[in-house]
């Protein structure tokens, strides 16, 4: 075949070796147990892996082959202590957000802000305020860098995708107040640990996190000065969904339930009336202040709220989690993220049934999805959003050779309008193609395809005064990728690949092909 000769001409040798290792066995991936794997063809396995990870690559394929797809999938759903490659881990470990807890970090930043504000001289004040903003930017950049390194290289690929999914579902935006100092902790303490756990635990962690409380203004929500923002989004976006059967009255009642839940960035606690002391809760900068809480009787979704203080909020979160609308709404969103802009209703129904049967165990709901024939037999039709397009391309091109600089990755997703923590509205980025397949988006995507396909694109350039760039070659033209998907490539794509004048151009065309846009 013409393509094969071209392939051999360009294929780097070690890439071929790895690929042969995977393909030579060519035994169907073992399947069995509850978690059935993909159909036993190289193409089907590639597509399955491409759908279940941030992007198929040779090293992950090898692990799946060694472990068997059923066991590998179970490990994905119950990840334990996923480790990063050494260089990536070293980068993460050296970060301020890895070394300083939320409370200390916010205290440091608050001091810097107040010191700057107290300056009398306008010029000096402006410089100090800029320094404060730059430090906040640096902290946000650390969080984004860590997120990308884990997405690219963590063996716990399902957990990493779910962390992004929940980050988007429970969206916060970096430009509000000092949220940039909170992003790292929000992700690491509220989202990632619960990403595959009980939805109720996740919802609780998010709802009590200062990042969310500040983003949706619940730190301003107090008895007699109701702010409905968080209450509304908690029902509309986080749990029941916009058609979930709640009323404007429910929004107002929930807002009253949520009064007093907020943030205290001072070192001292407020002075409370004596009888309220037992209801006061503080953990770091999180605070429940009973003096700001509306103590009147309340009813939510037809049920009386009977607790006292923070217990009211716990009761409300229980109620929202167990509501059937929440099972339906979140299940549909999960299926939309993982499989299709228009997921089959029967599949969504089965996921929602699992949700109700397991009291919202996210991993079990995902298992229902991943092992469904609608999932394992699906053709790649889901359009990759910018995050996935960039990550899957880098994973494919460089496999487990960890990049030294994720700056280009962050710039690419920024250029395509999906920066991490950059969605202003609480609804999160859209999960459907129409948001990401516009004219400008696609021409930008082709430019990025060329950058990734042509060389290291700065991914292996270290920062700092003595920046060095290591040589790196994208490994796209390896037999694994090509043989695994060649049957899925259209004749037009093959014809384009045949016109490549260099390995770099071959890579560019492959990453720009329609087949590389979908999974």
């Amino acid at each position: 075949m013409r393509s094969d000769t071209r392939l051999l001409r360009f294929a780097p040798l070690w890439g071929l070796c790895v690929a042969l290792l995977f393909l030579s066995g060519c035994a169907p991936l073992p399947s069995g147990g509850v978690a059935d794997g993909p159909a036993p063809t190289a193409q089907a396995r590639y597509e399955w892996l491409n759908r279940i990870t941030w992007g198929a690559n040779t090293s992950t394929a090898r692990v799946v082959e060694q472990q068997g797809s059923a066991r590998w999938l179970q490990q994905q759903l119950q990840p334990q202590g996923a480790s990063l490659p050494e260089s990536a881990q070293a980068t993460v470990s050296a970060m301020t957000i890895s070394q300083t807890g939320l409370t200390d970090l916010v205290a440091t930043m608050e001091k810097q802000r107040k010191d700057a504000d107290a300056l009398r001289d306008d010029v000096a004040k402006k410089a100090a305020q800029q320094a404060y903003q730059q430090e906040l930017n640096r902290l946000a950049r650390e969080a984004a860098t860590r997120h990308v390194l884990r997405a690219l290289y963590s063996p716990a690929q399902v957990q990493e995708q779910m962390t992004w999914f929940w980050l988007n579902h429970f969206n916060v935006h970096l430009s509000k107040h000092n949220l940039r100092a909170m992003l790292g902790d929000y992700e690491d303490s509220a989202l990632r640990p619960h990403a595959l756990g009980r939805f109720r635990d996740l919802l609780g962690a998010v709802s009590y996190h200062p990042a969310m409380l500040r983003y949706l203004d619940n730190d301003q929500n107090a008895a007699g000065r109701i702010n409905e923002n968080f209450a509304r989004e908690l029902m509309e976006l986080h749990t029941l969904g916009v058609d979930g059967g709640y009323t404007q009255k429910d929004v107002q009642e929930l807002a009253r339930v949520l009064t007093g839940l907020g943030v205290n960035m001072n070192s001292s606690n407020p002075n409370l009336r004596k009888e309220l002391n037992r209801l006061y809760v503080r953990k770091g900068i999180f605070e429940f202040n009973p003096q700001r809480h509306d103590t009147g009787p309340k009813a939510l979704l037809g049920q009386a709220i009977t607790g006292e203080g923070l217990a009211e909020i716990e009761q409300a979160l229980d109620l929202l989690t167990r509501h059937p609308a929440t099972a339906r709404f979140v299940s549909r969103k999960l299926a939309t993220f993982w499989l299709s802009d228009t997921p089959p209703q029967a599949l969504v129904d089965r996921m929602a049934a699992t949700w109700r049967a397991t009291d919202g165990q996210i991993a079990r709901v995902l298992e229902t999805l991943f092992t469904a024939p609608e999932f394992t037999n699906a053709r790649p039709t889901k359009f990759k959003d910018p995050m996935r397009y960039v990550l899957s391309s880098v994973r494919l091109a460089y496999d487990d050779k960890a990049v030294l600089n994720v700056g280009p990755v962050l710039n690419w997703i920024n250029r395509m309008g999906q920066p991490l923590y950059g969605r202003q509205t609480p609804d999160g980025y859209p999960l459907v193609a129409s948001a990401w397949d516009s004219t400008g988006q696609l021409t930008t995507r082709f430019e990025i395809a060329k950058a990734i396909g042509s060389g290291s694109a700065g991914l292996f350039k270290t920062d700092g005064p003595q920046a060095t760039e290591k040589a790196a070659f994208p490994q796209l033209a390896n037999a694994l990728y090509y043989q695994a998907i060649q049957n899925g490539l259209s004749s037009a794509t093959r014809a384009a690949l045949d016109q490549a004048n260099s390995p770099q151009e071959w890579n560019t065309f492959l990453l720009a092909a329609p087949e590389s846009m979908r999974r």
């Binding site: 504000d117 306008d122 010029v123 004040k125 402006k126 305020q129 935006h173 430009s175 509000k176 509304r232 509309e236 976006l237 916009v242 250029r415 309008g417 202003q424 509205t425 609804d427 859209p430 948001a435 397949d437 516009s438 004219t439 400008g440 696609l442 021409t443 082709f446 430019e447 395809a449 060329k450 950058a451 259209s490 037009a492 794509t493 014809a495 384009a496 016109q499 151009e505 560019t508 065309f509 720009a512 092909a513 329609p514 846009m517």
Partner: protein, 408 residues
């Protein structure tokens, strides 16, 4: 044949030949005639201080509460306000750029304008304006009023069916929605790395797929942008001084709006002046100067198409009327809309107004909003495209009462 025209034709031909995209008409063939209405929205993100742009020079209260940053009453002094009406002056930084347009009758202002959103949050207010919906009516993110306007105007004769375009990196909410709108930032243009041959090969891969048209028109838009920009490179190579910053961007936008896109959006940041914003000179004055130069350049570059053009400049909100402890201003409410263009009946400061005093402050801190932005825009859209009330209610759902201030 003049050099520029030759270059234009040569590039056009080579691009067309090289791309040879079936089903894609190159834009020059379908662009608006100079007589077609054009509308550009310039969104100032960050909350521009209306009281510095348009100092209320008849208000003694203004001079009381802004001891360090007020603009002096019109006077011979070059740092004093430029006279507009008995009540209003114009920031002196706009003396050479926009003031002439005002005097020629091509620039008007609508003070006391804005939205009823009271969050005083930048992003929430910006979004609510771009969504153009009733506040709190729904959270239908993802459908902006300019997209709905373009949708309403679809299917009209080519001359009045404006091709929309966002001159931004990301499609702004105002242009998101049902209609597919291209977006390209013109701020930092670099030569595309995917060359013409590669573009043709990539486009060929998409033949017969659902994205065929999108990919082809994406490349065509890119070719169009690069072709228009060749004039700029040509000028630069002959030693002309290249415009910088917003002026350069505005000239590029004008070239595209002159040739092809009749409905545009661009945003300009940097208006959040909590500290040391300055008065007749200083930080804010520099920003206004840069913006004024860009808008004036846009008017020149539009050529004869300027006659049918309306540009609206607005910000999400104004700022506090009193200066704060940092010789700056904090987030306020009412702002001012600037309306300029060859089609504009300018040299007037229109809309509902009150005498500015302590008693007329909104919540004892801001300009009130007496002219809802949808009312002002609706009036302009009615005039520009002859929209009916029911068509306008599709552009601004739930909003009635577009007010025709005779701006166009």
């Amino acid at each position: 044949m003049q050099r520029r025209q030759f270059l234009h034709t040569a590039l056009h031909t080579s691009a067309a030949a090289a791309l040879s995209l079936p089903g894609v008409q190159l834009h020059a063939a379908t662009g608006p005639t100079t007589g077609a209405p054009r509308f550009l929205m310039v969104f100032l993100r960050g909350g521009m201080d209306a009281a510095s742009l348009l100092p209320p020079v008849s208000s003694s209260f203004y001079y009381e509460v802004r001891p360090d940053i007020a603009i002096a009453k019109p006077d011979a002094d070059l740092t004093s306000a430029l006279p507009l009406t008995a009540d209003w002056g114009l920031h002196p930084a706009l003396r050479d750029t926009l003031y002439p347009l005002y005097q020629q009758g091509e620039l008007a202002f609508v003070p006391y304008s804005g939205t009823d959103n009271l969050s005083r949050s930048h992003f929430e207010t910006q979004d609510s304006i771009e969504l153009g919906q009733q506040n709190h009516s729904s959270t239908a993110y993802g459908s902006g009023f300019l997209n709905r306007l373009a949708t309403q105007l679809q299917g009209r004769p080519a001359v009045t069916s404006p091709a929309p375009m966002a001159f931004t990196d990301q499609l702004p909410i105002a242009l998101q929605g049902e209609l597919r709108v291209p977006n390209t930032s013109l701020r930092n243009l670099s030569k595309p790395s995917v060359d013409t041959r590669q573009s043709r090969i990539i486009a060929a891969m998409y033949q017969g797929t659902a994205l065929e048209g999108t990919v082809q028109s994406g490349f065509a838009v890119r070719e169009q942008v690069m072709r228009e920009m060749s004039a700029e490179m040509d000028a630069a190579s002959r030693g002309a001084i290249t415009a910088k910053g917003f002026e350069l961007e505005a000239r590029r936008i004008a070239r595209l709006m002159r040739e092809q896109y009749a409905l545009g959006f661009v945003d300009v940041g940097g208006w959040d002046t909590h500290v040391a914003q300055g008065g007749a000179t200083g930080y804010l004055a520099n920003r206004l100067d840069e913006l004024g130069q860009g808008l004036a350049a846009f008017s020149q570059e539009m050529g004869s198409a300027w006659r049918n053009t309306v540009v609206v400049v607005m910000s999400e909100f104004g700022r506090t009327f009193r200066q704060n402890g940092n010789r700056g201003t904090d987030h306020g409410h009412g702002s001012v809309m600037w309306v300029l263009g060859g089609a504009v009946r300018g040299k007037q400061v229109v809309g509902e107004q009150v005498q500015m005093s302590a008693a007329t402050l909104f919540q004892n801190r801001d300009y009130a909003v007496l002219n809802e932005y949808r009312s002002v825009l609706g009036g302009i859209f009615k005039r520009q495209w002859g929209l009916s009330d029911s068509q306008l209610s599709n552009v601004f759902p739930g909003f009635k009462g577009a007010r025709d201030w005779g701006l166009v």
